[in-house]
Symmetry: C2
Subunit: 422 residues, 2 copies
């Protein structure tokens, strides 16, 4: 049994770190369970907060933190390095670690979990996926009785803000994105968000919890939302759909199908209705079917709740008998899916014939052809939906189609998630 109160060292005093400290101060019923002893931050002098008790040590020297032998180190610094070294040294020294760092965990969770198990301490990371949504507790403990077969979610609030605003107002992506940057919803360099790398890291962590397998982030096919235009929302609406960045991993054969990118979802589905920066995750179990979790995916106070929940779990939970291990997981090709294919062309005769022939050669059946009016002849968008087909066959067909001279933009293919509840 751990001694009480647990001493806590906080690495990072930004939005999340300061919110963690604030909850510890504002909830006096926690003081006999958790005691903040150190705050570590670069340039700590400008961070010092008067509302923390004067016995808290403020330092920019990580060795000073470790020398105090805290029971728990909270890592809310972010980024792989030097967080990796700090977390590893903390665990090696016998401190449990609570981390909100998806990038670190996506890259190194398997070996960090092994270090933690060897030292008999815990590595917890509720805050790394879904911000304040308690889905790691829910999946790891609440659904442990099931055999999980899939996870799917909206894991990146920035993309969801951008796509839901494009859907609502018909604005182009670059306008919404620069607004989002001005409002602080998107970074100056938005690529981690819009190109799917942030969501892919979170998907790796979520899949680790659900399947006890480590899927490499670099193995997950990611597609950017940058290619989505206002016209795509117009066509999606015609099909009672909208577009969301969806991250998913599903067991398939001996591996996992995994992907991150924009997909069509029904407007009335839970994913389609997920607005603004909210996150939502659906978990599919062999016995229990679909369970969903949703809430604030980011923000200092919500994410800090997840960190403090992990801290409290350390005060009540004894040592786990079976340390968690993530064995390597292999990414395999997806099952057949229906696709939305959007072309922007310089209009001329024979276009549909060319496309239809290339699809037929791969045994891909057309479902419907949609064309909205009011676009110029030299950049004319239209949409073809196809029945469920293998992604490889579709790629072959699209490569052939892409060689035609009449494209004004490269063709866009979006999977359509039409059957799931979510």
């Amino acid at each position: 049994m751990p001694r009480h109160p647990l001493t806590v060292a906080l690495l990072g005093f930004g939005t999340v770190g300061s919110s963690v400290a604030r909850i510890l101060v504002e909830r006096p019923e926690l003081t006999d369970r958790l005691r903040l002893t150190h705050v570590f931050n670069r340039g700590v002098a400008r961070k010092r907060a008067s509302w923390l008790t004067p016995d808290v040590v403020w330092t920019e020297d990580f060795d000073e933190v470790l020398a105090a032998r805290p029971d728990v180190v909270v890592e809310v610094v972010g980024g792989v390095d030097p967080a990796r070294e700090w977390v590893t040294r903390s665990l090696e020294q016998g401190a449990s670690v609570v981390s909100a760092n998806k990038m670190l965990l996506a890259a190194h969770a398997p070996e960090l979990l092994i270090v933690a198990a060897r030292r008999g301490v815990q590595l917890r990371f509720e805050a790394a996926v879904g911000g304040g949504v308690p889905l790691i507790h829910g999946v790891r403990e609440g659904l442990s009785g099931d055999t999980l077969v899939g996870v799917a979610g909206i894991l990146n609030g920035t993309c969801n803000y951008i796509l839901s605003r494009m859907a609502a107002k018909g604005e182009p992506l670059d306008v919404v994105l620069s607004d989002a940057q001005r409002l602080g919803y998107a970074e100056a360099d938005p690529s981690a968000d819009v190109d799917g790398h942030d969501a892919a890291a979170k998907l790796v962590v979520l899949a680790g919890i659900a399947f006890h397998r480590h899927i490499k982030a670099s193995d997950i096919p990611t597609k950017s939302i940058r290619q989505i235009s206002s016209a795509d929302f117009q066509y999606a609406r015609r099909m009672a759909c909208t577009i969301r960045q969806v991250s998913q991993a599903r067991t398939r054969d001996s591996g996992f199908y995994a992907s991150v990118g924009p997909v069509l979802v029904p407007q009335i589905s839970a994913f389609g209705r997920n607005e603004g920066a909210n996150n939502i995750v659906s978990i599919f179990g062999q016995y229990g079917g679909e369970s969903s979790f949703s809430g604030a995916g980011a923000g200092g106070p919500a994410t800090a709740v997840a960190v403090v929940s992990d801290l409290l779990a350390l005060t009540t939970v004894g040592e786990a008998r079976e340390a968690e291990q993530w064995r390597p997981g292999m990414v395999v090709a997806p099952a057949a899916m229906p696709y939305y294919l959007r072309f922007v062309v310089r209009d001329c005769p024979g276009i549909i014939a060319t496309i239809a022939a290339a699809l037929a050669k791969q045994d891909i059946n057309l479902d419907a052809l949609h064309q909205e009016t009011g676009y110029p002849k030299d950049a004319l968008p239209f949409v073809i939906t196809v029945e469920p087909c293998e992604e490889a066959a579709l790629s072959t067909a699209l490569n052939e189609i892409g060689r035609a001279p009449w494209h004004a933009e490269p063709p866009l293919a979006l999977p359509m998630l039409l059957d799931a509840n979510s």
Copy 2:
């Protein structure tokens, strides 16, 4: 640390109990953590399942179960008595208990938790609320870092099935109810479901987990869905709303506002979109805002997942330092809310004047008057919506209005939940 595998005695081999046994058999990776040793059921001879290993003892003698000193007793019998005696004796003897029994917990959780704490064992009940939805784990552990201020949910699948079918097909309640009974979605005596007592018991358990307070089920005002007519759905639709049985408890002053009954919710809200027998629960935290959980609220396999998850938690979790305690919680009056008032009258002059005067006397402001065409003059429904008002003031006004001679049916008042995300 508990020894392994934990021996498990199963009380009750109905839908849930047999699904629990089936998961334990079908997931061989669980055999070194959990071993089913006893199945207890009345008339056990007709229950005996050939797919269970022959070393499982089948018995209808509870003393035989206890004499074997199981590590864990799973109680999926239901009902307060004799389950209360069996659970108490199991805990007293030092066995942890996993229960799916909302009625028992709603009535006696506080003292059962004290017995468990005194004996250093656990009483777990993930399956008692929300079937397979892992909301107790999510709330108790995943949101422990927050200060929770409210819970609201659709906790009764039968009511949700009835109301969502009435909404979709315009059928009257008695037709849908008898269909539901024939299909096995509703009991021969449906009162526990439709009158709100089942949901009230679940709300007591959920509030216990969220607030560590015991609200007595008998203190929770429950309203039946029996009074809801097809006309109510027609009027609700006019307001872009539908009707759901919602259970909620919110901290207010030194106590809790709590209620179970039909309310108007926006069609596009998560509650409005919750169809069939699914459950959904939203938790409101001071720091994290709203988090939601949804999934299969009932059914053998889904509920069994919750039971097995609790069993697995017992194999990995050491003793809790702070035993959970539910202190008494007081039910107080709700905050002001907007209401939907439906009258069915024998039409005559002066009706609106009478209603408006009675409402004005209580300082209640009218919001809108709705009247659909096509109803007979001697049973004419119409709807008045009012701005947020105190329930007590509204009751006074409705009592006065109810004394008028022109009512063909008693007036119906439904709270309108229009602001929440859910």
